[in-house]
Amino acid sequence: MTDAALPPAGAQPALQRSAIEARLKARRAREARFRWYGRLAITAALLFLAVLLGRIVSQGYTTFVDYRMSVPVYLDPARIDPTDPTGANYDLMVADAVLAKLGETDDALGTTSGKLMALLSTDLGFQLLDKVRADPRLIGQTVTVTGPVRADASLYFKGLVDASAAETDRKLDDRQIAWLEKLRSLGMVSSGFNTSFLTRSDSTEPEQAGVLGAVVGSALMLLVTGLLSVPIGVLAAVYLEEFAPKNRWTSIIEVNINNLAAVPSIVYGLLGLAVFINWLAVPRSSPLVGGLVLALMSLPTVIIATRSALKAVPPSIREAALGVGASRTQTVFHHVLPLAMPGVMTGAILSLAHALGETAPLLMVGMVSFVPGVPAGFTESATVLPVQVFIWENASERAFHERTAAAIMVLLVFMIVMNLAAILLRRRFERRW
């Protein structure tokens, strides 16, 4: 000990005191500076988030407003064959009905009705066909159908078409715009919340395209991913952490799992293409094959998260259980795993959320195809939300772009719902020790 070097106890020399005080000022300043750095970092992060969300919402919110047109159509018995109602041209019947309202007549070549049909959704015609097929007695009567206007007309109503631009630079000519204004003043156009975006699936016509197919596809695929990756991952982690001997083999396995977590996701797509589709003949572009690929991708993450959750359980709990004569399996499943459950759930949900947003590996297993329906099962063709975003973003029609942003909003809501579920589950499992 260097007792001699220290001043006598009880009296702090003035010199030492002033030295401490001088440093104290610098120390306080450093602390204040550090707090400001933290505040700046948080502000920057919030700013980025606000810009991102603002951009998505401002671009996509118009999707949730749609413009519908109600048209009373006379079902002319001369134009519909009751034995074969499918053969009639309902779109033309709708167009003629609207032309009559506008006080115009079609020309011989059908250019006028063609121009008008560019404003009316084919959905109106399909609705008429459905009605006639359901009840052929409607032929000869007047039936009112309501359906969305074409995407270009809808963009005009939303004020997203610049009517002052040169006529050749826009998709709607002056005559069509005049028609739309007249139809609006006739009270045939109504606007409201666009429920069809949430109740329909992909379509070649933007005004008829919705996300339901993609949402159901995502849900089915995540179900496959979760049911495979969570139990397999948790059991693998439990074995490695609690039972496996610590030797060269297990450390090789551990290193490999850690590396697999960092493998680019598209590699899993290639693997899935080779193994699941080419070898095991799982149907392409189905939620099953997508789920299998994403399960492979999320396994390492689930294993790593579960292992660290198990590591965080205090060893005293294991000793307590072993001490009263519990077997190792009982110790793990009665005490250790329940305590690790909140961490396990967090890891599982995070990896599922990651899987939900994954696009690249799904492109490899054919999920990029155009699927106009809602998948009815795990082996049906399906698309998923991020792929739907990708497909719409690549579409040439402008109206798809607002749908891209809207689909991103739906994806974000899906993710928020999943995270909320995770928080609730964690609360339920959480126990203190």
Partner: protein
């Protein structure tokens, strides 16, 4: 006098000894350790320890930190099995049977040899579940009525019943440190062990809680063979009938507690109990 200032440099310490009952000396050996060596990897932690532990008595293992007393204790119920690098040689006989024998299931062994740890470690479950867990997994008590009975008797024997009878469903972790340690003792005795190992059971407790636990140990010795590791020589003197002194991984000497404390044969024992080192 409740706690002994350890390592005090003020010369010999006066330790009060309890008048010992005669049976401790002549009691037949419940545990018989012969030439026990323990290795952690390449490092040897225990050298040729041989000790007889009498039935229905408290045996204290004393010695400075890192002397191998806890290691020895953990050999008795094979807790060292859980450490991958640990290797144990030699014989430890429980009623003449070698606990390290292949035919002995460690799970069964630990049902016969209960353990209480340094830090109170109740399960993060209710008080009732803490005590009922052992009897349930061993099938000692099956019905709800039977379990309730076992829980009540165990808590009574651990002297905790009056404090927790009205809140058996409260979490075990909500009790105070001393209560938790008695809960853990109740949990250990609920499976009817023959031997109870205690690894510094009072080192995390305040003097009053320590006194309660010591009283309990004294009561329990009527029925169980108890082995206690302690850092406090005063505690060893108060609760034990037999004492073994460990130093640097070797068992230096063992004998009746009053003899060890009044008339140690080895100078190292003398130095330790008089506070000259440790």
């Amino acid at each position: 006098m409740l706690s002994q200032p350890e390592g005090s440099k003020d010369g010999p310490v006066h330790i009060e000894l309890r008048p010992q009952s005669a049976h401790a000396v002549d009691a037949p050996a419940k545990l018989r350790a012969r030439d026990v060596n323990v290795f952690y990897g390449d490092k040897q932690a225990l050298f040729d320890a041989s000790l007889d532990v009498p039935e229905k008595a408290v045996t204290a293992l004393i010695g400075p930190s890192g002397c191998g007393k806890s290691t020895f204790l953990r050999c008795i119920n094979r807790m060292n099995d859980t450490i991958a690098t640990a290797r144990v040689t030699g014989r430890i006989e429980l009623d003449g049977e070698d606990v390290n024998d292949r035919s002995i299931d460690p799970v069964l062994l630990r049902a016969r040899v209960g353990m209480v740890f340094q830090k109170p470690n109740p399960f993060p479950k209710s008080i009732f579940e803490n005590v009922a867990y052992g009897p349930r997994i061993h099938g000692i008590a099956t019905g709800k009525r039977e379990l309730e009975h076992v829980v009540e008797t165990s808590l009574k024997r651990a002297g905790l019943w009056n404090e927790v009878a009205d809140r058996l469903q409260a979490p075990g972790t909500s009790l105070s440190g001393g209560q938790q340690q008695r809960l853990v003792i109740a949990r250990a005795i609920a499976v009817n062990p023959e031997v109870i190992l205690m690894d510094e059971p009072c080192s995390a407790l305040d003097p009053i809680a320590t006194a309660r636990v010591e009283e309990l140990i004294d009561e329990l010795r009527e029925e169980y063979c108890i082995v206690i590791v302690t850092h406090s020589m005063a505690q060893a003197a108060r609760v034990s009938q037999k004492t073994a002194f460990f130093h640097l991984g070797k068992l230096i000497e063992s004998g009746n507690t009053d003899e060890i404390f009044t008339n140690p044969r080895d100078t190292r024992t003398q130095d330790y109990i008089t506070g000259r080192f440790g």
